[in-house]
């Protein structure tokens, strides 16, 4: 166990401070210290993507980041996807397309899919599948997830035109 270190960071646009041991991973800091339990632990080794967050805009696995590394940086989690209480198009489309069953993988898929659509508003199915290769789902299967992302891309492009 290491001594606690004070970390000052920005999460979903809000300034947040927490203290954590130096060897604690960001995933645990977010869940246990900040109370953002949307981020999930699947494997803890960067293989499953359930703990996906953005760190200074870059998609990462929060199980492979130390909590102390977040100091002075900006983190984005699934809790930041809603706007004024309205679900993000990705969230709505995951519901509409039944792109989830148990839901453990869903926050990671949403964060990863948003990272994809932010940089590529009109991805092909192949591009979607490659971009989500770091996210594993053990119940829904991937087809519904891919359809939900395609529908979201369409909705977001339409909204942008308006």
């Amino acid at each position: 166990m290491s001594n606690a270190v004070l970390v000052s960071t920005t999460i979903n646009g809000d300034t947040v401070e927490f203290a954590c041991p130096a060897d604690e991973v960001l995933l645990d800091s977010l869940r246990d210290r900040v109370g953002l339990t949307g981020v999930k632990e699947g494997c803890g080794t960067g293989d499953c993507g359930a703990c996906s967050v953005t760190l200074d805009g870059e998609l990462v696995c929060s199980c492979l980041v130390l909590g102390v590394e977040a100091d002075g940086r900006a983190i984005g989690t699934v809790e930041g996807l809603t706007e004024n209480g309205d679900l993000h198009p990705l969230q709505q489309n995951f519901i509409d397309h039944a792109a989830l069953q148990c839901g453990i993988c869903t926050p990671g898929f949403l964060v990863a899919a948003k990272a994809l659509l932010d940089r590529n508003p009109n991805p092909t199915e192949t591009e979607i599948r490659y971009a989500l290769a770091g996210n594993l789902c053990r119940c829904t299967g991937y087809d519904k997830i891919v359809r939900a992302v395609q529908a979201s891309a369409k909705d977001l492009r339409k909204a942008k035109k308006r």
Partner: protein, 286 residues
């Protein structure tokens, strides 16, 4: 465990050199944190190099490129000039893991982790990359192929860190390529990897470097394979000689990903394909 995030290479070196317990460099953490979680290592000190300006950017210099040790693979993929000059190096780096891993993993980490199957290393060796190593006694620059000495082992001394990699400015009519064989298309570890760079003069191969991965305890530079290409226009005879030289250089193991015999054969096949891509990129016509 103590965590430090120094602002200079000099400070990082001092921290690592002074630590009496076990000290590790943290760049992307995609190997380090996994090993910590598995309790394979219990660091007393972790030195995060991502706040060191000399390690966090890609610089275009007169001699070529300088890639900081903390630059992520995703950053490499977004650097247009680097992608144009050394597409094989960037493709190799971008094959590692998922988008989540790409956002963190570094080619210097890939090098220092010293896996025989590291994807970026054969491409870097083929491109003639050098490592800028800083220690208490100053800095030294060594070819990348001199860094890995065995599985998980490097030639770095205690207190030494790699600050950056350099890539030369490619001569005109240069092309490089990296191909790996994996059963899946992504999220997998190379069964065989081949990096090749070629320079042409009047349509003929003037210079070549061929490096194989995952077929020996370390990535291996194969001069005989380069000699098979030099002086040719990449005709069938030259490609057959290349394949033979690559297969002959292999010293692989049998494991769940492939048998030794299979790896030896695939090394030759992949080398032919990689050479063809590098040749086309160099502007060569078959």
């Amino acid at each position: 465990m103590r965590y430090e995030s120094p602002a200079s290479t000099k400070e990082a070196v001092a921290l690592l050199a002074q630590e009496k317990g076990s000290a590790f460099v943290l760049a992307g953490g995609t190997d380090l944190l996994v090993r910590m979680k598995a309790e394979l290592i219990e660091p007393d000190l972790v030195v995060d190099i991502k706040r060191i300006p000399a390690m966090t950017d890609i610089r275009v210099t007169e001699k070529g490129f300088r890639i900081g040790a903390a630059v992520s693979a995703a950053q490499l993929g977004r650097h247009k000039a680097l992608c144009k000059a050394w597409p094989g190096v960037v493709e190799a780096a971008n094959l590692i893991g998922s988008d989540q891993i790409q956002g963190r993993c570094t080619v210097v980490g890939n090098l220092c982790n010293a896996s025989p199957a590291a994807d970026s290393v054969p491409a870097l060796v083929a491109a003639g990359a050098k490592a800028v190593i800083v220690g208490r006694n100053g800095r030294r620059t060594v070819p990348v192929e001199k860094v890995i000495t065995g599985p998980g082992r490097t030639s770095l001394e205690k207190g030494e860190v790699i600050e950056a990699l350099t890539l030369p400015k490619p001569a005109s009519r240069t092309g490089d390529a990296y191909l790996r064989f994996t059963p899946r298309t992504e999220m997998d570890i190379a069964v065989v990897g081949v990096g090749i760079s070629l320079a042409l003069e009047r349509g003929t191969v003037k210079k070549a470097r061929v490096c194989l991965g995952a077929v020996a305890p370390t990535p291996i530079l194969v001069p005989a394979a380069a000699r098979a290409l030099i002086g040719s226009k990449l005709d069938d005879v030259a490609l057959a000689r290349l394949a033979t030289a690559c297969s002959a250089a292999c010293n692989p193991i049998d494991d769940k990903r492939g048998t030794a015999a299979y790896r030896i054969r695939v090394a030759g096949v992949l080398a032919r394909r990689a050479a063809t891509i590098a040749f086309q990129r160099a502007g060569g016509k078959a």
